[in-house]
Symmetry: C2
Amino acid sequence: MEKDHIHFMRKALEEAKYAFYKNEVPVGCVIVNENEIISRSSNMVELLNDSTAHAELIAITSAQNSINNKNLDGCILYTTLEPCLMCHGAIYWSKINTIVYGASDEKRGFSRHNLEIDRKINIVKGVMEEESRELLENFFKKIRG
Amino acid sequence: MEKDHIHFMRKALEEAKYAFYKNEVPVGCVIVNENEIISRSSNMVELLNDSTAHAELIAITSAQNSINNKNLDGCILYTTLEPCLMCHGAIYWSKINTIVYGASDEKRGFSRHNLEIDRKINIVKGVMEEESRELLENFFKKIRG
C-alpha cells in the first residue's frame, strides 16, 4: 500500500515542530519522489537572517541537489501551511506537479490571488490542517505573550 | 548628484552579460541602499542546478547578509528582466520598496497576474529595456541555433 498524504504531512509537521522549537514561524515541508522523501526542511528565516528561507524554497533547492536534477516533475510537495506567492512561484519553476498543504493562509497564501499559471498544478488542501494551524497559533501566542 | 537608474541598471546589465557568457539565461540584478550597491547577482540556475537561483533571489539573500538585516526597507532592486512571481514574492518579503526593471516578461512576469499585495511596491519599468531584451534574444538565438 502506498504511503498516504497523512504519513508525509506528519513528516512535514515534524519539521514545523522543529522550527517552533528554534523560535521560527513553525512551517515544515517535505518533498516526495516515487513515494520516498527526497528532501525536508523547516522554515529558517531567523536562523539565516534571510527572508527567502521559507521551508518550501529550501526543500526545493535541496531536492534538486538530492536527485541532481532541477526538474522535479512527478514529485509531491507537502507543506504544513499554504505556500506564499514566492514559494508557489518556486514550485512552478521546479515542475512539481502536486502541492499538499495543511493550514490555509488567508492573508499571504497564493490562493487569494487570481494567478494565471501556464501549467497544471494539483492542489490538495486541509491535510492535518488542525495540527498545523494550532502549532502556528501557539507560536504567535508564545512570541506575543 | 544622485546616481540614477541608468547607472545602476548598467551594473545589473553587466551581471546579465556575465550570465550570458556562462550559458545562463542572461538576467542580472543589483540592490541599492542609500545610493550604494549592497549586492549583485547574475542568474545561476544552470550553475547551481537549482531552479530557484534567479538573480533577484540570490541578490536579496546576499543583500540581507551584506547589511546583516533581513529588512531591506528603503532599498531599490534593479533587474534587467521583469521579476517572475517567485522573485516578486521574495521582494515582498524583503520589504524592498522599489523595483526597477528593463525588459518586460509577458509570459512569466508578475504584472500579468492580478496580485493583491498588502503593501505598496513602486515599479519603474523599461529602463535600458532594449539592451536587456536584445541580450535575451541573442541568448535564445544562440542556444536554439
